[in-house]
Structure formats: structure tokens, C-alpha cells
């Protein structure tokens, strides 16, 4: 089995649950269009039916068939996406991350300001921020309880689109053209792709190539 890239998306229950699910599912689907093998899960381990509680969504991408079934959580996430920036204050989001991982935060604050809330930031290879709330400003909320089975709002209609654009550019694991076929707000996807700010650390890191 080849290298499996694990992506964990952190969000808040109910109010931004659908946004993070769109990020996880659409990014996995776009990677699948390029012939990669993908797994995507959500709603495991955490209790996402409570407003504002921190929850996770998981994606795994690999060039070969993924043989790690039946285990939903990502123990060693290479990429961590923060849909709501306050989460970095209350949770150790980099837990289990290997040296040189990527952190993408949806915030309009400077990167240095966000890093002061992350005491273990020295494992990071790259930090990126995108102001998805400023670009899109819409948070699609899904109260149907169908967990994505019935979705009238459309995939990637709110802040998920700029986050997906930023993630596509920084991680390089899915193409923007494939994402544009999935999300409904393509203009926000383009803006997120162009307006992402990233900071790479100069230390010698492992094989990752973030933001190239």
C-alpha cells in the first residue's frame, strides 16, 4: 500500500456542519476524478448534533487502493483544515500530525496572530489562511438531519467553495477544474484559489510539496 494522505476537517456542529461535509466530500470526489483512490467519512467519534460542538470530517487520498477500512478517524493527519478559526484555541488540532504537515485556516487574521494559539506549531511545514467568510459570506445550514442524503442547498454553495479552492492550490492533490464541476459557487472557488495566503517554514521537512 502506498502513501495515504489523510485530511481532517474541523468544524462546529450544526451551524457549519454542512460546509465541512462539502469540503470533505467534494475534495475527495475531485481527487477521485483524477484516478486516485479516496475514502471520506463524517459523523464518527464526535456528536455533531449539538450546536457549536467541535466535530471532524475525514478524507483519505492515495494512488493505490486504500486497505485501512473500518477505522474512521485519521490518527496521523497530513492536512488539517479549520473551517471555524476559534477551534485552534480550544483543541489540539495538530495532534498526531507528522513533521511537515499542512494547516489551512478560514480566517481574515494574520498568520502570525493565529500561530500564537498553536503551541505545537513547530511540526508544521506550511500554514495557509483564506478569508472564506469574507469571500462568500454564506453559511449553508442543513437542518434536514439526513446527513447529506437529501441536499437541496447544493454542494459548495457557501464558505466551502473558497476553502476548497485554497485547499486545491496549497495541497495540490485535486485540480481546480475538477472541483469547478462539483461546487455550485465557482466564482468563490476561483477567489479562494487566488486569494489564499501561505507561509512556508524554512526547516528541512519531509517529502511534502505544499504550495508549489
Amino acid at each position: 500500500m502506498g502513501k495515504v494522505t489523510e485530511i481532517t476537517v474541523w468544524t462546529r456542529g450544526v451551524v457549519m456542519d454542512k460546509e465541512a461535509r462539502d469540503v470533505a466530500n467534494a475534495f475527495g470526489q475531485a481527487a477521485k476524478m483524477e484516478g486516485k483512490f479516496v475514502q471520506a467519512f463524517d459523523n464518527y467519534e464526535d456528536l455533531p448534533d449539538r450546536v457549536l460542538v467541535t466535530t471532524r470530517k475525514y478524507v483519505r487520498i492515495s494512488d493505490e487502493e486504500i486497505e485501512m477500512k473500518y477505522l474512521y478517524t485519521n490518527a496521523h493527519p497530513d492536512v488539517v483544515v479549520i473551517v471555524e478559526p476559534t477551534i485552534v484555541k480550544g483543541i489540539n488540532v495538530l495532534k498526531g500530525m507528522p513533521e511537515g504537515g499542512l494547516l489551512l485556516i478560514n480566517t481574515n487574521r494574520p498568520i502570525d496572530y493565529m500561530l500564537q494559539f498553536i503551541p505545537n506549531a513547530d511540526v508544521l511545514g506550511c500554514v495557509a489562511t483564506v478569508d472564506a467568510d469574507g469571500i462568500s459570506g454564506i453559511r449553508t445550514v442543513d437542518f434536514s438531519g439526513s446527513e447529506g442524503g437529501v441536499d437541496t442547498a447544493g454542494v459548495g454553495a457557501g464558505i466551502a467553495a473558497p476553502i476548497l479552492g485554497a485547499l486545491a492550490r496549497v495541497s495540490g492533490m485535486a485540480k481546480k477544474e475538477n472541483l469547478a464541476k462539483i461546487v455550485s459557487d465557482v466564482a468563490a472557488l476561483e477567489r479562494g484559489y487566488n486569494e489564499v495566503k501561505l507561509e512556508k517554514f524554512r526547516k528541512a521537512r519531509v517529502e511534502y510539496s505544499w504550495g508549489t
Binding site: 464526535d46 471555524e84 476559534t86 480550544g90 483543541i91 489540539n92
Partner: protein, 109 residues
């Protein structure tokens, strides 16, 4: 109080807690908060509306100093006190403007 629990005997956060306590320190939920309420003590009339409206009993009255006190450990930032306050003494401030006031957890909840 640090009790060593073996890995196979671990239970979810808040599953076992000491029963009659005034404050459940094993169930701190401050990391649910996006905004926090900030009280202006000059505007406050001590009407206790925030005390009555808070679902988590995070507002209490300090008799010695004659002012309302906010409990950061259990406030989830629902902003009910801000909307209910008749004197407009409470306002919302983004949690990221502050360095402290959130209990950092290893697990999600």
C-alpha cells in the same frame, strides 16, 4: 487530580464525573464558544435577567463587590444574555481577540 487510567479503560469525556459538586470541572465546554459576552458594570442595573436567562447558569452575583460575574468555563457563547439584557450592558466580542479563557483539550469534547 491526575488519575492514571489504562488505555483500554478510557471512557468518553464527561462519562464519569463526581456527583454532587458545585462546578463540574471534568466537563468544561469553553471551547464551544465563538464569541464571548463582555459586561459593562457601569450600565448593569443588577436586574438578574442574564442570571435567569442563561441555560448553563454562567452568570452569578458577587455580593461583596456588587457586580455580576461570568463563568468562562461553561459559557458556550449562545448570546442569549446579550439579547435579553434590558440595559444593553452585555456585548459580544470575538473569542480570538483574547489570549486566555479557553480550556484546551486533546479530544474534541
Amino acid at each position: 487530580m491526575a488519575i492514571k487510567i489504562p488505555k483500554d479503560r478510557e471512557v468518553p469525556f464527561g462519562a464519569i464525573t463526581p456527583a454532587p459538586v458545585k462546578q463540574q470541572d471534568l466537563f468544561i465546554t469553553s471551547n464551544w464558544r465563538i464569541v464571548r459576552p463582555i459586561i459593562d458594570h457601569e450600565k448593569c442595573t443588577r436586574c438578574f435577567t442574564c442570571y435567569a436567562s442563561c441555560p448553563d447558569s454562567c452568570w452569578s452575583y458577587n455580593e461583596k463587590e456588587d457586580k455580576m460575574e461570568w463563568n468562562w468555563k461553561f459559557c458556550k457563547g449562545c448570546q442569549i444574555c446579550i439579547y435579553e439584557c434590558p440595559a444593553d450592558a452585555i456585548s459580544a466580542a470575538p473569542e480570538l481577540d483574547f489570549q486566555d479563557g479557553v480550556h484546551r483539550l486533546e479530544k474534541p469534547f
